[in-house]
Symmetry: C3
Subunit: 342 residues, 3 copies
């Protein structure tokens, strides 16, 4: 059986590679998908383009270039490209030289949810492949907190981390002792969904944690049902609180490999929080929620990066997984993935 | 003949891997022996345990875990281990998963001389293998200065450095010009012992050097007999001064490879100094002796790390050694060593 | 056809490896040519010597050693070398050891133009191989600005950068928009020479640029003829201004590989500027010219290092060069080069 950490992510989906605000009009930005370097740029009319980040002439990154209207000019010898990757000008084209190349690869691009998505797979599949559907993002009853962070591990560790809620011990200093109980789970060829009951135990708790959990900011007791779902290649987490004074929220996450070996992942997250009845309460709570989620994420990162380092040293996956739904998750990630270039 | 820098140290000895005070009660500490990662922890009753530093579940370092009584709990999913490496609890053990592993490797541990020793070799040999015998350590007539430092070279360079006293030119700025004279040496299958006569020459000298050498702090002349012995795998240096106002001292050193290629060594040293007749003189001299030894060690480190870098670049040992006792030392280190994992 | 970036530079030429002032009397300096480490030292009588930078005894760098008269003593066990590389003293030479080695390799050395040149190729070719001839360096009508900087790329990228003046777009922020026009070029087995006409266009311009270009510091218009020549292995650039109030200048450059893979190059440059009629004008302009050339060089470095990174990632040269004289230049560099050690 193939080592899961050697399974590449399938390129035939839409992956975020930048936040929209990271690509202002008339500017470029370097991005990457699984070792493919991308030059993003936003033309004068507002559209974002994604080209292979190598000038066809001398391989210098096009992301070091200059946007002129809807075209991108390489910084070195000023060759100009259209958004479809075709070369439209070589300022000094000489006679007697070699025939110039036609251009570079261009990637389908879409913007949604404040993110720039590219389709790194077979371009003809792009149109038929839907973007993730996140109705809460645009809903006036929700507000969204956006995350983007590099994590030094294979994307599969991220999926396993979130889906196996028995790792709450890791967060004991932030959310207190929690005993998650698995209520049930479903697995299919593209997805695994698990439902947990969270009951707060003892232990000190981050203030922001109270704002996002069953116990509530005022310490009232309760329990939450949390539903986590990997729907290849994305992952979601939903909280439906039993304590009605608390906001429901959902998290959408995509884990995008940056390097060719897929051991560095950029995690994009959209945390969509239902606005509570009291106006102004959510903006007030916002910085606390941000701080809480940053602390939790920092602990998760420590664990998954330690897993990757162990894999790097051992040269293979020596995990002894005992949790059935994680075994099913691994099958989903293995079955939908793509071979890594050897 | 095998390249000496490719000979691993024999694991069938007791090696220090931490200072005792680096492992307080209820805490963990990561250590390493020749690429094997160790999780040290001290239980509630004061004993130190040494486990393989990988949780059997997902290979996360157990040294990131939490001590509970005499057990160690992994930080991630809270699996708990006994000091013998056996798993004693998986808090959420599910039905239908894979059978959990029994545990991880545990290493024999002993504490002595303020050091935590482990036995990385075949465990059944541990009981019959003695710790080094250092009667001066506990003697009321001596006081011990302890050293622990990483040096980026193979352990053999450390042995050769100390045993070949012709390298005093390296320390000319600290101890002045010294012309060491080899009085004689003995070599056996496990040991080489050399006796040198040190006569001080010209040149400026560190104040601390005077406190530890024949010339004496007041500049009186004299000569020292220094005896250096590699008794595999340890090394000692003894000074018996001819000038009776000076303290005799002895140094015990162990060179412990940290990485699998054994190109990073942690040097542990115990410098046991005889208390002089005047009460309070040794505490007064203490910081100067510390500074002097640090300066000498820094110079030695520069040299042996340069040797390792040359080896790394040349890919083999190109030394032209002309000093017979060093040739014998190499035979001892080669003959008692172990093959490196390829 | 061999990948140009895998072609080593020919060792059978004189290459600068240090500035003369970097090797004061009685001191040593580490240098390198294509992975060969050199210990330079200047003896008491003023001559510079270049030895292999490894003591024959234990391979410690001789550049860490001590100059004594015309000899160099290793810092570790004090073996002493003559400038011809022969060992002249081992202070403690024991009986019964291995026969000591005779010495280390010495390189022919010459000093000129404020640079220390060595001849890394076959020593018997050194005498018949001339140093570059730079009459302007000693001329009272010129003053020379000297450059020495490490650039992380193969030397061939440096030649291509300077010879293909269509890269002026890279410098648009410093020298304004310039449209260079190729007037003609000649290529031979050891050389390529190109002549360009530079006409200033729009765009902001560094003040120092005006001091070195046709437009002049006062903004008067004009055009320059620039002649660039690769005469293996060196490169020169000459400006003969049409605007007579401007100084003519010439640049001589050598690109010296430092590492064995020849992906790090030290660029040495001598910018020889004709003194203008007004006395004191050139000293006044000096810091501006220095700043301008530093800015231009920093931009070139960005481009050539990006090229090298692309090559490293792609593992081969994927350039699509369309400029005929660069294709000829590549033939010159390939035809005169040497195989890299595999």
């Amino acid at each position: 059986m193939t080592d899961l950490r050697r399974v590449g992510i399938s390129p035939d989906f839409w992956y975020p590679v930048a936040l929209s605000r990271e690509v202002p009009k008339g500017e470029t930005r370097a991005a990457a998908f699984a070792g493919e370097r991308l030059a993003l740029y936003r033309g004068a009319q507002g559209a974002v383009y994604a080209l292979e980040d190598r000038c066809a002439h001398r391989q210098v990154p096009l992301s070091m270039g200059v946007v002129e209207g809807e075209t991108l000019r390489c910084c070195y010898h000023a060759w100009a490209y259209r958004g479809n990757g075709r070369i439209c000008q070589i300022p000094y084209l000489p006679k007697g030289g070699e025939r110039p190349p036609r251009g570079v690869r261009a990637y389908p691009v879409r913007e949604a949810y404040g993110l720039v998505f590219v389709f790194p797979g077979e371009p003809e599949k792009a149109a038929a492949t839907p973007l993730p559907d996140l109705p809460e993002f645009a809903s006036p009853r929700h507000r969204t907190m956006t995350f983007s962070r590099a994590v030094h591990c294979h994307y599969s560790f991220m999926h396993e981390n979130l889906l196996d809620m028995n790792h709450q011990f890791l967060h004991r200093g932030v959310i207190g002792r929690i005993q998650p109980k698995l209520l049930g789970y479903d697995a299919g060829p593209q997805s695994v969904e698990a439902r947990y009951l969270f009951t707060s135990g003892k232990g000190k708790k981050d203030f922001g944690a109270g704002l996002l959990s069953a116990k509530g900011p005022r310490g009232s007791k309760g329990s939450d049902v949390i539903t986590i779902r990997t729907e290849y290649p994305y992952q979601t987490l939903r909280l439906a609180p039993t304590n009605t004074e608390l906001p429901a929220f959902s998290l959408w996450a995509a884990y995008v490999p940056e390097d060719a070996e897929q051991r560095v992942t950029r995690a994009y997250g959209l945390l969509m929080i239902a606005k509570p009845p009291v106006p102004g309460a959510l903006p007030l709570a916002w910085p606390f929620i941000r701080r809480f989620t940053e602390r939790v994420f920092a602990q998760d990162r420590t664990a998954v990066e330690a897993e990757q380092r162990a894999w790097d040293e051992q040269g293979e996956d020596r995990n002894h997984e005992v949790f059935p739904l994680i075994l099913d998750l691994r099958d989903v990630l293995r079955g939908n993935g793509a071979p890594l270039p050897s």
